[in-house]
Symmetry: D2
Subunit: 338 residues, 4 copies
């Protein structure tokens, strides 16, 4: 049994993680923390039935960091820096769901997150937690930086092209996300009446922070590659679709493209490569840890359209965190996620 | 041209009112106020196109109360007390959309709203603004207290029975409201992810404040009449349906019931009495000032089921306010609302 | 391993059942049938990833009825009569998710479903599959008639009162259901644009067929008991809430009521009795096999309001079917459902 | 008073048109047709209150084509060909909301719609009904071909660039549409449970028929211009957003772009050019005849992102049809649409 601690359990990723761990045959949650709701049970914070609802929340100061094998940190960025370091110092392995340890360069972090990184030494140790790209590193990592949801959908949608050297020119990702991606903190933008029957682009162009990790993982920027990213908020709870546009090199055929995806993803347990005529929809992956990918060449053009769908709370956050745990502890990667 | 001032224009009822007044051939908005957004235009606060979006917001302190014929007050309860009184003292007629002047007895107000009423003298002057019940009073009123949305749907659904003396025993109203009824202030309950794909009862039984005005207008409580009220929040923006259960007196037939509604509502411009086999749905009245009413006798029983639908922002708030204005200024009641 | 066959696998209850069985450690699906989609894979019919999506559909005529231990029949009412009988004759135990074997009296079936029952002999053998009421019978049953979704929410909400002898007068259930309860067959009523931003009562009063099984299980009709039932369609995919109104006998206190529920449900694995001040919402049970129950006495009255929430596809259909399977095969009732 | 006939009044565009005409001070609907619902009232087909609901539907064969000044044809493509021709022969001016008269070349029609055009002579007479591009032609037209919804949002979003000669390379439009754009015919794709909590690309690349009219109006294809179009179905009733990506020529600055839009649209009554930092959302135009346009240059790149929002049933269909009527009859273009 892997003994688990969860820091920051009262956001949507924390809840989803606890749901998944509740089904996991090899994991046992020992403690979970919340500063605002310490002393309460999870059922007081969310409308969840027992046994999940009976779990008790404690403040981080009372958590026995050394008494667990693995700590999931579900705090927001910036605020995760310290607790992750404390957990590592106590000897626990860590999966951090925030952005704090995703960027290899502290300077990049400081540019994109507009905040100093206080744990630069730890950055060197962190492995970017996308198993399809970094399985080996994750297996032996002390600290895994779980990817952002947008980043997961875009990187998985493009990685075979990058490997093949076919990622050139202006790459455009038009992404659509359900509202749970914005977290549980009420705001006007996520107020029901404002978000329902609406659809809003935001931070479009070169403004969204996930650009940093997408570029890091896909070898951008580089000569001749440019990335444009347009997130949109859509009126549904969970799910994310990225529609990605790439101009293929002259010689590359639709068949070549397909082969590159099949080669890279044939044995991946959570990649669902759709049939040639199919496009990915949000329904394809909702409530699952899959990334569904569709490939369409706009007829008569060189523009490849990749549709890439994930559940932002599962493959885009807590499911991927469990997948990373499975890799770290040498379990079948699908355990608790099938 | 009726010169209009609007106090508190940046909530959903304020916006809806300004939309309606924008179409009204006999009304001209002279000023609109907001304390939080003074100095901005309405288009900065809401995603509304011109010409509505170009209207400028001023603080109440700069509003020329005496320079308009009619003031709509769209502030929340308690905070409307003072501005309404100031407007009346300045000589303007007032339609108040809050609950502050709906209850004839200050003591009832203080019981239900848990707050002292500082303008008791004005209470005597206020007319409850449901034209179907108080058209004459409204026509000559200086101050009209615009009804609550739940109250409108329930009172209109039951008024003919009350007139006929058939309202007895336990009357149950199971009401379902779209989220705009809860206002524009973000909260966890109205956070998209919490309200979407969910449906929540709240303040059920005898806890919701609209009970006070419903009972006042329907002659309750009285010997042998008891009112039970269950509001529910449903995942849609606008619209309200009340499903109301009444036990009919022995001698009363389904035909008698129908006749009582037809008699009372035959010439009402905004009551849509549905055909015998039909039930009211939210779609029947969305974006209109109508109240749609369906009458169903549960076969083999004495239980009458009244389904009563309104748009909570129109007949349940701003549309009714404009209807009241039309009555107050001797215009065709449908002006600007057809 | 329990060998499983599924008849009629391409509706929402069929899909949900296959999802649940996919997680079940003691069940193995051997075959699944569809007349319209025979020859296809489940992933061709629904946007579901592998391994679920790879399951192959066969026509019923090719299904080896005798080669499995348990058959789930997910056909619509009337059309389930024959296949269930065939399955029983082949020696398989059966959980039927249709209404065809729920009513003990063929005459009642013919009255409510307006169709002759061709398998009257089998009716005598069928056990109504609500474990909270009929666990013993289910354990030994050859044929379990899985309850309707509305019926589950109402019966579980009222059973303790019925046992205590406190169910009298007019009992009113105002139920709200997500759209998946209406099945997967497209219709104008379930067309997105018609159902979204709308809420519609239908079959209100004494018209809905689930009344028959509710009355059968709660000993109605009887002298002095009358049941009024109002279903409503609400714009969400899955979930159901029944708000139930009962007039309590004079001597019965709120504490008595609570005790009756605690006594009956204390050891039930899937009843979530909420704290005294809480009401059940759809979120309480979504994607779970729980029934959440809230108890509220309308203050100053004798009216008890029971709020009862289930997921219509889980406790209201396929989850309850798996729970019944667990009881039938002497497994821990929570297996595969936790 | 303009005397109006409406052919095919029982789809969503027909209903929206009748709503708008109901407010129009200079138009009077003389008759409306439906083959399936002839003999019924509009209130039998839609949940609409009087007076709209009282309008009677007749079969087309009984419509007095010569007795009206203007006929709106709301039939689907292909089936509009004949009735439009009949209306013209009877002497009425026509606004056709189908695609049948939008393409100047019959061969293009036959390629994209896979159907022969039987009224080629009339094609020469038809004017593409986008007032911002063809106001003069519309004013004198006998037959106006009302644009498609996607086409309206894309063409208005790009027209200033086309005029300036800055439309080059691969132009990508990623469009998102509410479900009413798919019409009122029930289908699995538009079944509530399938469309809700989902988001689906469809006909992406070069497959959607609106490409034909977009290219016609924007001078494509031509040397060095290529158009890629990705429609998506999103879970909301009405509204459409196109996010459009264009690579700007080297010398063109963000200021130049802005000036080109301001120059072309400064006096347009229904273009809402947003402030430099703002993006268009669906809320900006819902229930209005506006097209809202936002301009964003992805920083550090040459990629211009145009966000263009319309209500698919208003500016994308019936509102634009009324705007065209206003132009045709020399009324203020905003009449009935403000």
């Amino acid at each position: 049994m892997i003994k688990i601690g969860v820091i920051g359990a009262t956001g949507y990723t924390g809840l989803e993680l606890l749901r998944l761990l509740g089904h996991h045959p090899a994991a046992r949650v020992v403690w979970l923390t919340s500063e605002n709701s310490a002393g309460q049970r999870l059922g007081d914070v969310f409308a969840v039935p027992p046994p999940l609802g009976r779990l008790s929340l404690i403040p981080l100061s009372e958590a026995d960091l050394a008494g667990v094998d693995l700590i999931f940190c579900c705090l927001p960025h910036v605020s995760a820096q310290g607790p992750v370091a404390a957990a590592r110092h106590a000897g626990a392995r860590v999966v951090d769901l925030s952005a704090d340890y995703r960027l290899r360069e502290a300077s990049a972090y400081e540019t994109w997150y507009n905040h100093r990184h206080t744990q630069v030494a730890l950055l060197a140790e962190a492995v970017y937690g996308l198993p399809e790209l970094h399985r080996e590193g994750i297996a032996h990592a002390g600290l895994v930086a779980n990817p952002g949801c947008y980043a997961t959908s875009v990187i998985l949608g493009l990685a075979p092209l990058e490997r093949a050297g076919w990622l050139n020119g202006t790459i455009i990702a038009d992404s659509k996300s359900g509202v749970s991606g914005a977290g549980r903190q009420p705001s006007l933008k996520t107020h029901f009446v404002e978000a329902n029957e609406n659809l809003s682009p935001y931070s479009i162009g070169r403004a969204h922070r996930h650009i940093a990790e997408i570029e890091q993982e896909l070898g951008m920027p580089s000569a001749g590659r440019e990335f444009v990213f347009s997130p949109h908020l859509v009126p549904l709870n969970r799910g994310m679709l990225s529609t990605i546009y790439i101009s293929l090199p002259e010689a590359v055929t639709e068949g070549d493209v397909r082969q590159s995806y099949e080669a890279m993803y044939a044995h991946e347990p959570f990649i669902y490569l759709l049939k040639p005529t199919a496009v990915a929809t949000i329904a394809h992956t909702q409530n699952t840890n899959y990334c569904a990918i569709g490939l369409t060449l706009a007829s008569g053009t060189r523009t490849l359209i990749v549709t890439s769908s994930i559940d932002n709370l599962v493959k885009g956050a807590s499911g991927q965190a469990v997948q990373n745990m499975n890799v770290m502890f040498a379990l079948d990667e699908r355990t608790g996620l099938a």
